[in-house]
């Protein structure tokens, strides 16, 4: 019953599948993390802006080279990153929403809370500026105008650091936005939200790094910038190993120390300056948060 003709294709299929599986199994052998070495993995939960701007592509290999740890970067919104920390699913957090970070530092879920860097948020919108917000002194005032003129605003709506800042600004403007034709939520990262704002000709709040990195695809103009309330401040922190025993405490501590080390801070402040003619991030380790933007 097993004639050669019939058997040959089966054999080829078998060899093909086995070769794939063989290769798949080789990989874990090469990396071979025996039980003791598995703590080499450091899970970093962070905001999308650090990944989408390309900063982590520079910093993570440097950290891995220096320390021998392997970083698993999970780029989600700041809100999701903080939730991962609160469940002990991550070892170290790099986020940019101080108002969301303070509670988990205060209740001891996060420790070793360190200022890393800052840039700023900007309000961008169509060149035609239908709500005429260009030149407004404060972001809150600009938001009021957008609301009064009924212009389209595109919100992240994803509980990210940028979304948190946006909500704080609406509060300062005395407005509670509700989803409508004129206030739309994407629920996606900053890059995707900028594309939506571009296509729908709406206003949006963005961090400067993502905006600059995307500038080549955008005709959206910077309309409001420079206010101190718009500072975008990044902190790094360890997830408390006393609360979550599975956390890689040594790896997380090494990452925090790496982020505030002078060499790393130098890389951050020089990152893509040549490409954009201006820094994407300002290194701030050791500074007082209240002094930023002075």
């Amino acid at each position: 019953m097993l004639s050669k003709k019939r058997f040959l294709p089966l054999a080829i299929l078998l060899i093909f599948i086995l070769s794939i599986v063989g290769c798949a199994q080789q990989q874990p052998q090469q990396q071979a993390p025996p039980a003791a070495e598995q703590t080499k993995d450091v899970i970093l939960a962070t905001t999308t802006s650090t990944q989408d701007s390309g900063l982590l592509d520079v910093l993570v290999p440097e950290f891995e080279k220096k320390t021998g740890y392997v970083v698993k970067t999970v780029a989600v919104g700041t809100g999701a990153a903080i939730t991962m920390g609160q469940k002990g699913e991550a070892d170290v957090l790099l986020t940019h929403a101080p108002s969301q970070e303070k509670p988990i530092v205060d209740n001891g879920e996060a420790i070793n809370y360190q200022l890393v860097m800052h840039n700023d948020f900007i309000i961008v919108g169509p060149e035609s500026d239908p709500a005429q917000i260009k030149g407004t002194a404060t972001a809150a005032e600009a938001f009021k105008k957008i609301n009064e003129k009924g212009a389209l605003f595109i919100s992240r709506g994803d509980n990210s650091g940028t979304h948190t800042m946006e909500k704080n600004l609406w509060k300062a403007a005395g407005i509670t936005p509700t989803v409508s034709d004129k206030y739309q939520e994407t629920g996606q990262g900053m890059g995707q939200t900028l594309t939506v704002a571009q296509q729908k000709e709406g206003y949006t709040l963005t961090d400067r790094a993502t905006y600059l990195a995307q500038k080549k695809n955008l005709s959206l103009a910077i309309l409001v910038e420079g206010e101190k309330a718009l500072l975008n401040i990044y902190h790094v922190m360890q997830v408390n190993p006393e609360k979550f025993p599975k956390v890689n405490a040594a790896g997380a501590k090494a990452f925090v120390e790496f982020m505030i080390a002078p060499d790393t801070q130098k890389i951050i402040s020089e990152f893509k300056v040549a490409e954009y003619g201006q820094p994407l991030f300002y290194a701030d380790a050791g500074k007082n948060e209240a002094d930023l933007g002075k």
Partner: protein, 233 residues
């Protein structure tokens, strides 16, 4: 239009310059989805055969479950596999989350119902008299099963292709359980999403073309095997 052209140029550059990062991502995609498909075949073919040949209470319910499972949304699978694999989950101690193995598990869950349903259909449409004949010729149960599986090979290879096509193209589960970690769990679909987020549309187009070529290449190979058998058989 210019963007599409740029994307095509970029795809050619990346393919022919053998960009090591792209090769790595492509290779990982093939390994992960290939392994997941193999696992789903190992699970799905026997289950499909049992459902096709067996007569037992609840069989119709199980068949409807398998058919329903063909449309399992990858994000739903991704979420549930994540919940099980997270440190706080029941299998947290195994440290599988954010590894290629996590993606293989999720993709195998996605592909298995597809393989079960295709296998079921393939074996069921074989003339039932063949079974009688085989048994009459003195074949034991195992020999009979093997003959039926060979007889149903056209349909079984279709099952493999459908399973592979289903998992190589999904992004929701890979993103959630794999985390799109550079050099570790970044596959073609998650890399495409990331490049779109970064605004590198030309790279995203290039990756999408590579994904299509990969998916077509594997399917073409399987099709050759499938048709070879039927032409010669």
């Amino acid at each position: 239009m210019e963007l599409i052209w740029q994307g095509l140029v970029k795809a050619f550059q990346m393919l022919f310059a053998l960009d090591p990062e792209v090769l790595e991502v492509t290779w990982l995609t093939l390994k992960v989805s290939g392994t997941a498909t193999l696992v789903s075949v190992l699970i799905g073919v026997p289950l499909g055969a049992i459902l096709a040949l067996g007569r037992f209470p609840g069989r119709n319910f199980l068949v409807s479950l398998a058919n329903f499972g063909m449309g399992l949304p990858p994000v739903v699978v991704g979420l549930w596999v994540s919940i099980f694999l997270w440190r706080s989950g029941p299998f947290g101690d195994l440290n599988i989350i954010y590894t290629p193995l996590a993606i293989i598990i999720a993709q195998a869950v996605i592909a298995s119902p597809i393989v079960v349903s295709f296998t079921l259909a393939a074996i069921q449409q074989i003339n039932p008299r063949l079974r009688m004949q085989l048994l009459a010729l003195g074949a034991n149960r195992l020999q009979m099963l093997w003959s039926l599986v060979k007889e149903a090979k056209l349909g079984l290879l279709a099952a493999v292709m459908a399973g592979f096509g289903g998992v190589v193209s999904e992004v929701g589960a890979s993103m959630m359980v794999g985390g799109n970690i550079k050099g570790q769990t970044r596959v073609l679909t998650t890399a495409t999403v990331m490049e779109v987020n970064k605004g590198n549309f030309d790279v995203a187009i290039a990756l999408s073309i590579i994904l299509l070529l990969l998916a077509y290449g594997v399917t073409a190979l399987l099709t050759i095997l499938q048709q070879w058998r039927s032409n010669n058989g």
